[in-house]
Assembly symmetry: D2
Homo-oligomer: 337 residues x 4
């Protein structure tokens, strides 16, 4: 932490900052320059509240040196986290594809999709039972019945299952039915939910908030990790910008940035990231080329009749073709799929 | 809802769209132009899922005519909603100020602030017992003990109290202690929480998500209103933009826009909106001049020692002076304070 | 400038950074902490190219202490810059209103507006002769004929005149016709134009780029100031964000932030900032309450027939009423109008 | 164009809109619904000024059907535009790489880079003679001397050359020295410059404004195309968002979106798009996988000593390796490189 004093800060003000640094358990180093003075406090394992210094007389600004996340960082764990699940390894050499419809609509729909996906080489099935919808007047998901359908299809097909959980109070129930708990973009900073997901011990697919920074995503992962639940999968799914041609702006640079900063696996959701099914194939290929450990893709047997997100869903045939296209790209960057 | 067909759409494609419109219960009107054809479906009280048409062959895009919110709109209720509380009226002629520290830290702290605020003419005390913090390693609020302190101070001073509730599971408890439930910016689309707040029957202070549009804010209000809980207070608190000179960008235009679209009261939080106490006085005056029904201001007796958000908190003396400055601005726009 | 070394940086790497600091003419201070080491270079009147250090082995990041602008800063000149013009003073005690139509359309139109504005107490007339338009197929302004009309109306009414200049090559000509050169939002970083405006010696109204930071605005002012042309007026006119309810998001916090950082006068353009005439009155009042030194308002005698920006133009009657409303707000914050 | 009337619009208001539609040369179609009425004007080859209708009594909003760009659209020209240059074809089957240092610094520097690039298979050399810099106090480019160096290196190596032109007044000169004129991100809406570039008849590399939508990029291309200069190359180079981990957010979805909407070639600049050299290889591969027609990459023999943008420049060795990695990705998506 470095406290930069204002021009003309008095010796008393500098001394007060030094003493405050000391009172917080750090060693202050005062560097006096021609125009400016700084007080450096090295050794900040634990950040003090950010505002402590900014209000002191004579202080211009405070800069932090240490990253605020710890358990999620490469400094804490240098080698990649690999999460074995249902015969595949998330974060390993293979690019893992999770696919399925936005919403669980019926047993038939799920079974039809699941079989097609399995044949295409998918290991993990996605499908929403509880749906976060902007409007209270639209389809909100099948709820418990959706969970039961997921559990049945899981048993019948042998696919692992991931579904979204929308509040801390739902975690224990949802955790009984599925293999991976998904925390959605609107809940990335629902801290009660993060705590509950951490306590559940289940693998967690944590989607980046649509207006959250990469650092905030890692801080939210830190909430889960702090419960000794180390099976956290990060997911870039598009951020909100001024551009309206796409539903969100898929921030693929986040993939290599996250891989540099953190040991956790990084997936990409090109379906929500773009909002248009035609854009899913090129952006899926781009995600793999950028180094993503996996993809989350919406597939629906009849997108025109989907109860949510039809416009961004691939039909199974198109998805099968995409899988084969992706194998070439994966190979070009030294991965399998 | 207006379906715009692609150039060169075939008669069959146009017919298919018309039939789909009819199957949804609307009357289709086909308008054939020189280059383009549109199919208009007037009477859309209930929106179909947005993606239904976009996937049909020959469709270029779909435009909605009706606003997606209903109970929150001026069309539904033309006159302003006024919420009487503790001798004042939120949404009435008077500009209502809610003030207090970011976090409840101790009974002494709260009582000291509360007395100063009361003397300055404040009717409603704010203070967080449960704190949503980006980092799991920072102060998370006093929790239940904080609620008890709020209840005591409420009793001793006669001030009404508003505090944040962070999850659906906490609503019944928090509702017992306070007069207004606050839903924070990170939870604006925590739909489980919105349902629970609606069911509680308590007045709700709904803060705009830092990443949410004005329309989404009204849709979230709609969740609460749909439980026949009509005492919803909207609050602009700054949105996230590319500018870093301020913590957020306070979107004051949202005030007149919301007043046009909705009958609900609109408050402004210049403390979170700017992140710097020096900016709170000018932006408070600006908010009142723009037509805000109230302000939410952080006041702390000793900001340097605040356990959160010290940098944006006013000292009580500065706050008292601000109240008197605000009276002049309120009068200039035909309001009292 | 503070160079923060990576954890585990070697003594050789630290030494190399120190020597680089010295070679640039600064005195290096090495502060060795428990985990991290920093090299501080105090006295940086002139910033080195930002990337010099970031590529050196062992360097984690570089933080700059000094603001990059100098002539525009309060450190350079503590007292407010006041620009006398046509009997008023921009940046003085009085709030200055510049008003007029978006485009100069005819002599009759300009004269009609100008007379109404003058009677309402306006000192400075605005009107575009060269129009920056997104589409090459829309009205591009009257060009030279527009300038001549402005000059005539200026002579007939005694109003000062401000108009936009779109390229360096136009500066000498435009400078002959008007009192203030306006640099538009899309040209805020047209550096050739900034140089030419600086050289002209004319007062310059510099509008903030719609996606430029406050710091970048001050850096663009610095270009003009570096030609010893100190008559620069800054103008906040709305920034681009994800919100679509308004044309732009008017960033009124920029007013007090700019007044803190710089001595230059700060105006606000609520017409472009909101894009809707109904929002112009509340946001004009808010701007004055926030401390703006002036307003730039679009007024058109017949907005429905305006050749550009009709939707955001006030009719003269509404403008006259606004002027009287603004006087009350100005008085409440200790200003006249 | 569809004019949506307010609820309760009177027959007179609807009639007035219809007449206005007619007076603009369109055929009005009035569709009367249960709650709302719309007036559709089909056949809008030329858009009227957008604000004409919005101010009419009883009008709620206006929606445009036709895209505002014409010459740049696939509707105008279905097949891809291919620009032959120096033995390669921009927009053809081959992915074209333009590379070189940010700034021309000396003849030796340029020659060294150019030879390395040529050997690696590059056809087009980039290098800035005129540099748009945020600060007037930093290196502004060698100017005319830089152009001369570019011309010499072009002659000696046989590479084609692209360089930035910063104002309309510079176009005739720069056009004499180079093969492609680059219009930079800050000048994407410098309309005088767009006109001049159009008139020059030279191929133009048009970079997307960091604050500009995809539609605005195509409208700026339209300015150039409207001068019968059809050799326009679009370039995505990162947009400004709230994320600060990267210099900009590289919007790779823009590649397939632009390819859908337009026949013009689309390049990607991962150097400016990310701002960090480590991110250039993954994002280059991602760009090719997403369907980009080419890449613009900064390469510098000694990035630590670069006069601008060193942090985002690859060393020649790393660039050579990247070229070979890119060949695999290009092959996987059916392209060569």
């Amino acid at each position: 932490m470095i406290v930069i004093m204002k021009m003309g800060a008095t010796p008393e003000q500098i001394e007060a900052v030094s003493q405050k640094v000391q009172s917080l358990g750090f060693q202050p180093h005062v560097v006096v320059g021609e125009k400016l003075t700084i007080v450096a406090a090295i050794g900040d394992q634990k950040r003090p509240e950010p505002d402590v210094f900014e209000l002191m007389d004579g202080v211009q600004k405070v800069t932090y040196i240490m990253k605020p996340f710890k358990l999620a960082s490469r400094d804490f764990k240098a080698e990649d986290t690999v999460i074995p699940l249902n015969g595949t390894q998330i974060g390993g050499q293979q690019v893992v594809v999770m696919a399925g419809p936005c919403s669980v609509e019926s047993r038939e729909q799920m079974l039809e999709v699941a079989c097609a996906l399995k044949e295409a080489g998918v290991h993990i099935l996605r499908g929403g039972a509880f749906k976060p919808r902007t409007s209270p007047y639209t389809f909100q998901g099948l709820g418990m019945k959706g969970l039961e359908i997921l559990a049945q299809v899981r048993e019948e097909t042998g696919l692992a299952v991931v579904t979204e959980v929308m509040g801390a109070e739902q975690v224990p129930t949802v955790a009984q039915y599925v293999d991976i708990l998904q925390i959605g973009t609107r809940n990335m900073q629902n801290f009660n939910l993060l705590h509950a997901a951490g306590e559940s011990g289940k693998p967690v697919l944590l989607k980046r908030g649509m207006m959250s920074t990469i650092e905030e995503l890692l801080m939210s992962a830190e909430y889960i990790l702090s419960h000794q639940n180390y099976r956290v999968i990060l997911c870039e799914r598009g951020i909100r910008t001024f551009e309206t041609a796409t539903r969100n702006t898929l921030d693929l640079s986040a993939v290599p940035v996250l891989k540099q900063l953190s040991h956790l696996p990084v997936m990409v959701d090109p379906s929500h990231g773009t909002g248009h099914w035609e854009l899913v194939p090129p952006m899926s290929k781009a995600a793999v080329a950028a180094g993503a450990d996996g993809l989350l893709i919406e597939v629906h047997p009849d997108p025109e009749r989907a109860m949510s997100d039809g416009a961004q869903s691939l039909k199974p045939e198109r998805f099968v073709r995409l899988m084969s296209e992706l194998r070439g790209v994966a190979a070009a960057v030294g991965r399998s799929l």
